[in-house]
Amino acid sequence: MLRVEGVVKSFDDFTAVDGAYLTVERGETVAVIGPNGAGKTTLFNLITGHLKQDSGKILFKGEAIGGLPPYHICRKGIARSFQIVNIFPRLTVFENVQVAVHCQQRRSSTLFRPAHTIAVKETRDILESVGLSGQTRNVAGSLSHGDQKVLEIAIALGNEPELLILDEPTAGMSPEETWTTIELVKRLALMRGLTILFCEHDMEIVFSIAQSIMVMHQGRTLVQGTPEEIRNNSFVREAYLGGA
């Protein structure tokens, strides 16, 4: 479904991504791992259009999407959550998700109908499936960090994506919150038939839910394979797991 081939991206003299390769099949849950600075977030930014690659190809469902602006890529079926919490702090939880749903229904520019009557059911459904139904009226900025990260995911779901990209979805969470979120991700993938691409530092999580793992090191893809293959790969061991 998603194919990244030989993508390179540099900033001035620093090459953040230097030959990345990634294959994500429909319905899979794929993880990207690598030490800090390996280029994971940059790769995600390239896929979602926040950055433009210098060379290489990014194909989604056979179509080249490299260089398209983020809102265009979103419309093609890719949604994303951010590593640093990136919600709408002044809006309520309900409104946060509703913005995404409105856009999905192409209603963002509707002028003369009250917002709170449009796309209510879809928004409620999403909030229920992530477990935030009890907080719909709260201002998003007042939520706990863990809940804000879940809200992140909820907003991304508002776009009814086919591919959901999660950038360190459990960063900064307590252990219980982490496992709840991971269960949530697993459930969502099953219920909605989502394809999931995520990156994480917590190896337990990665090995428990990923069906395919891609390892990055210094901007380059070392290898991609099943958890077993990765666990036994000596290069990976040396570069990453051994020292972790």
Partner: protein, 320 residues
């Protein structure tokens, strides 16, 4: 569509206020009728600015240009052409919105400070042309004695006309802010990057908002002409633009009606203070400083916060 207004809490208050204001010319002396009409015009202008500043998060620092352009468009149509008068009324907001579209198109490509600077420079260019083109725009004198249709001949009639137009405009603005368009605009204000990631074409949306805001600014310009029968190049000067910004700050730019309150206070104080001293600007500066230090949410914002926190305390104290 109107259900949401009828059901909202503020509508009862608004209706009562409207009736009171409609009765005003029967109660108060002529001078106050004039002042209130001026407040209405200024309120509409401040509300239009707040659409893009308070609710849209854009640095629209030269909004006065669109106000002035709308007013001059009407004035020029009425005084320089022999077209029917209603064209002048329509030309004001249309020309203002067109200029808004042109300037906005260039500005939305830029971030915040550069947005502001480009707008200030384009606006100053227009001001400079209007200020110097004596033959066409009256130069630094402006245009005076603009002829109005018979139904607007008296001050009272003008007052009602302005009040009605203001009321309709406010209803429209309220609907716009409560619509998905408005919700998206506020989301863009809070986090434009996230909006892009959610599929919103941020620049286009901002441009739409600018066109709407400048349209209403043009209406305010037309209303000014109805009231004063004149136009002045000062309407396009950057000082006017900053004054409107202050009105929004004073009233509270994250609230709906805040800018109206700010406009009312500013015009009211200016008139009142103006009787005793010619140093109104000094007073305005001091008020602004007090505002910045003590009431950054503006008067309305402050009132709403105290109101809400008292309501919350009340409900917490009740048994259950």
């Amino acid at each position: 569509m109107f259900k949401s207004i009828v059901h909202s809490r503020g509508s009862g208050i608004a209706l009562a206020l409207l009736i009171l204001l409609a009765l005003l010319p029967l109660i108060v002396p002529r001078f106050f009728v004039y002042i209130f009409a001026l407040i209405y015009v200024t309120s509409l202008l401040a509300m239009s600015l707040n659409l893009v500043v308070g609710h849209g998060g854009m640095f629209q620092f030269h909004h006065g240009v669109f106000y002035g352009v709308g007013a001059y468009a009407m004035a020029l149509v009425v005084t320089k052409t022999s077209w029917p008068l209603w064209i002048g009324f329509v030309a004001g907001p249309l020309v203002a919105a067109t200029v808004g579209l042109l300037i906005g198109w260039f500005c939305v490509r830029l971030t915040r400070l550069y947005f502001a600077m480009l707008q200030i420079s384009l606006g100053s260019l227009i001001w400079a042309v209007v200020f110097r083109w004596y033959k066409f725009t009256g130069g630094d004198d402006g245009i005076h004695g603009i002829h109005m249709p018979p139904f607007l001949a008296s001050l009272n009639h003008s007052y009602y006309f302005i009040l009605v137009v203001l009321a309709i405009s406010l209803v429209l603005m309220y609907l716009i802010l409560k619509s998905p368009f408005g919700a998206t605009l506020q989301a863009i204000r809070d986090n434009p990057q996230r909006c892009e990631a959610v599929g919103i074409h941020v620049r286009r949306h901002q441009l739409y908002a600018i066109v709407i805001a400048t349209f209403f600014a043009g209406i305010a310009g037309v209303l000014f002409v109805v009231l004063e029968r004149s136009v002045f190049p000062e309407m396009l000067f950057w000082v006017m633009s900053l004054e409107i910004l202050i009105m929004c700050l004073l009233g509270g730019w994250f609230t709906f009606a805040g800018p109206m309150l700010g406009a009312a206070i500013t015009v009211g104080l200016r008139t009142f203070v103006g009787r005793y001293t010619e140093y109104w600007t000094l007073i305005l500066g001091i008020i602004l400083i007090l505002l910045i230090f003590f009431l950054p949410d503006g008067v309305m914002g402050f009132l709403l916060k105290t109101f809400r926190s008292q309501a919350k305390e009340g409900s917490e104290r009740s048994p259950l």
